[in-house]
């Protein structure tokens, strides 16, 4: 509730600004408003928001004005997760754009930076929500680091444990299960 009234105050201030001050504002970074599932509005720098390819595409397609009163609704993301996503994007705003993905190459999972590792020290539910949000908003860096964390989490687990983690039903017949197990009992990299 506090957050909402704060943003309202800010809006009133900007429209009452004298013209000379408005000139300075013209050179400042434009902002964008994002609205979570519960209706809470977060105002952030457009440059930070553009790390989300979905938001970036929307801005380019719709030409949303920088002092638009209209917040962008994100019905799939709740406030707590949106807050965390914004925190991640703010920390990483000066990162170089991620390199073009080599689609068929194995990716390392042991190169998560220490800030990200601390950031992702959360319970499993939050981690899963973050990965969903990163996928929904198409934020490559965040999706990459959350996938690495989830991958590290399930490495070394048995198939049954993996099923439990993601709530996946085992649809193999016992014979099929045995067959697949036999088909994968070996491995060596070149």
């Amino acid at each position: 509730m506090l957050k909402l009234s704060e943003t309202k105050k800010r809006n009133i201030k900007s429209s009452e600004m004298p013209r000379s001050y408005a000139c300075d504002k013209a050179v400042r970074m434009p902002m964008i408003k994002l609205q979570s599932l519960e209706g809470e509005v977060f105002e952030i720098d457009v440059e930070i928001a553009r790390q989300s390819v979905t938001i970036k595409t929307m801005l380019e397609d719709l030409g949303v004005e920088d002092d638009d009163e209209e917040p962008v609704p994100l019905p799939n993301v709740n406030a707590a997760i949106l807050r965390k996503v914004i925190a991640w994007c703010t920390y990483h705003k000066d990162d170089p754009p991620p390199p073009e993905d080599d689609e068929n190459k194995e990716k390392r999972t042991d190169d998560i930076c220490s800030w990200d590792a601390e950031f992702l020290k959360v319970d499993q539910g939050t981690l899963f929500e973050l990965i969903l949000a990163a996928n929904y908003l198409d934020i490559k860096g965040l999706l990459d680091v959350t996938c690495k964390t989830v991958a590290n989490m399930i490495k070394g687990k048995s198939p049954e444990e993996i099923r439990k983690t993601f709530n996946i039903k085992n649809d193999f017949t016992p014979a099929e299960e045995e067959q697949v197990r036999k088909e994968n009992e070996w491995c060596e990299e070149k």
Partner: protein, 460 residues
């Protein structure tokens, strides 16, 4: 972009303010609608952009909804059942780990049974554990074909098992490009079947196959073979090298590990091979002497990789021949040649100007003077001095000036000091540093090195 938008916004806001003052009495919905036609009138005269910068509420909401409502998974179960997401997610796992993932559910298995996940993976089929049941075996081989494997390793195979394997792969025989037979009792007959029925084979490894004879190799080897590895096969001797030299004109890589191969065999190589053969590794062929090197140097002038690891009879004279004649060498392995001294290193430093990798493990007579010669080589990227026990801090002082080094190993060098090791931080391009079994590579030293060489892997 932002500045110009801001200035436009400035103009808008000033128009708006004047309009808002006039239409203050109307409700929010009403004021929006009246603003729209008024603003358009203003814009008609000016040099405004034609982009719709403010639309009525319903239109923008609809557009946003259409952009965001592309079918996206809502829950974690949906996400991990989404094929597109899974195809990217599975690349965060090494191939051994993907084997477990195949067993989770049918959807995961279907996504994973695609050749792109199994590139560069060799299945090792332990033949003794293969099912006796024909059907199961058939399905097992089918799953291998389905996943697009082009390299297979058969461990502990007999002739029957080789025939069985080849029979099952008949429809996909063009898929197999490389075969490896390890610790097998395959005889000449079995080998013949293998070579004849797999027409696209170009890379072969025979390791620990003691039933294979030289006659068998004479009849099997065909000109398509580009890479051949033979190790620990008791019947392999000089005649085999003769067969190789005669039958394999396109051979690019030869790895030979045989205790009975002598200098005479190396004379079999002719100018025919000399043009193409680039990689020659003679591991533990301890009958080879400097005379053998004369033969190598004479017929194979284009070698880029040469390994004489374990050829313990090689001396400095042999290395002098190598340095003077094999100018294209990129990698030279002289490990376990205890007769090599600093003189060899002088020859190497003088003549091998393209050398990138040098391995001198267990060359216990190499000392600081030798390393001093090496420090003049600007092309050197990888240097291995494992268990060169005479190396002291003076060598390290020479190494500090080798700024192009990427990989360095000082494992087992007992006489270097901690302070000397700390000076290695001057090697800014170092990616890997191995210090196992170095008594002076204490925890403090390693910590210091890791802190000051952030992108270098320090192994202790």
């Amino acid at each position: 972009m932002e500045i110009s938008n801001g200035i436009r916004g400035l103009r808008f806001r000033s128009e708006q303010q004047s309009q808002q003052n006039t239409s203050a009495a109307q409700g929010p919905q009403g004021s929006r609608e009246t603003q729209l036609p008024q603003r358009f009138n203003v814009n008609g005269n000016g040099t405004m952009n034609v982009r719709i910068v403010r639309s009525p509420k319903p239109l923008i909401a609809r557009k946003i909804r259409s952009l965001f409502s592309k079918s996206q998974p809502d829950t974690i179960s949906e996400l991990f059942a989404d094929e597109r997401f899974l195809s990217k997610f599975f690349f965060y796992f090494a191939p051994e780990e993907r084997g477990t993932l195949c067993q989770v559910c049918r959807l995961w298995k279907n996504v994973l049974y695609h050749p792109k996940f199994w590139v560069d993976v060799t299945p090792i089929i332990v033949c003794r554990e293969l099912s006796r049941n024909d059907d199961q075996r058939c399905r097992f081989y089918e799953s291998l074909q389905h996943r697009g494997f082009d390299t297979v390793c058969l461990f502990g195979a007999t002739d029957n098992e080789v025939s069985d394997f080849v029979a099952h792969f008949q429809t996909y025989k063009k898929q197999i490009k490389a075969v490896s037979l390890r610790c097998s009792n395959v005889t000449d007959t079995g080998m013949e079947v293998l070579f004849k029925k797999l027409p696209c084979l170009y890379k072969v490894e025979l390791s620990g196959c003691n039933e294979i004879t030289e006659t068998g190799l004479w009849s099997c080897l065909n000109p398509k073979i580009v890479s051949l590895t033979i190790s620990d096969c008791i019947n392999v001797a000089d005649d085999t090298v003769g067969a190789i030299a005669q039958l394999l004109p396109s051979l690019f890589e030869l790895n030979l590990q045989a205790y009975h191969v002598t200098d005479a065999s190396l004379a079999f190589f002719s100018a025919k091979q000399g043009y193409i053969l680039s990689i020659l590794r003679l591991h533990s062929c301890w009958e080879i002497t400097n005379h053998g090197i004369v033969n190598i140097v004479h017929s194979l002038p284009n070698l880029t990789v040469l390994s004489m690891s374990g050829c313990s009879k090689i001396t400095d004279d042999g290395v002098e021949l190598i340095a003077e004649n094999l100018r294209k060498l990129r990698s030279l392995d002289l490990s376990w040649c205890p007769r090599i001294t600093d003189a060899s290193l002088e020859y190497i430093a003088c003549d091998l100007s393209q050398l990138e990798e040098l391995i001198l493990d267990r060359c216990s007579r190499v000392s600081d003077i030798g390393v001093g010669y090496l420090s003049t080589m600007t092309s050197l990227r990888r240097l291995f001095l494992r268990w060169c026990t005479q190396i002291r801090d003076f060598s390290l002082k020479h190494i500090y000036s080798m700024r192009n080094l990427r990989v360095l190993s000082l494992a087992g060098c007992t006489l270097v000091s901690g302070q000397g090791l700390c000076g290695l931080t001057q090697l800014h391009n170092l990616d890997e540093l191995e210090l196992t079994n170095c008594p002076s590579a204490t925890r403090e030293v390693c910590l210091y090195l890791r802190e000051n060489m952030a992108h270098c892997l320090v192994v202790d």
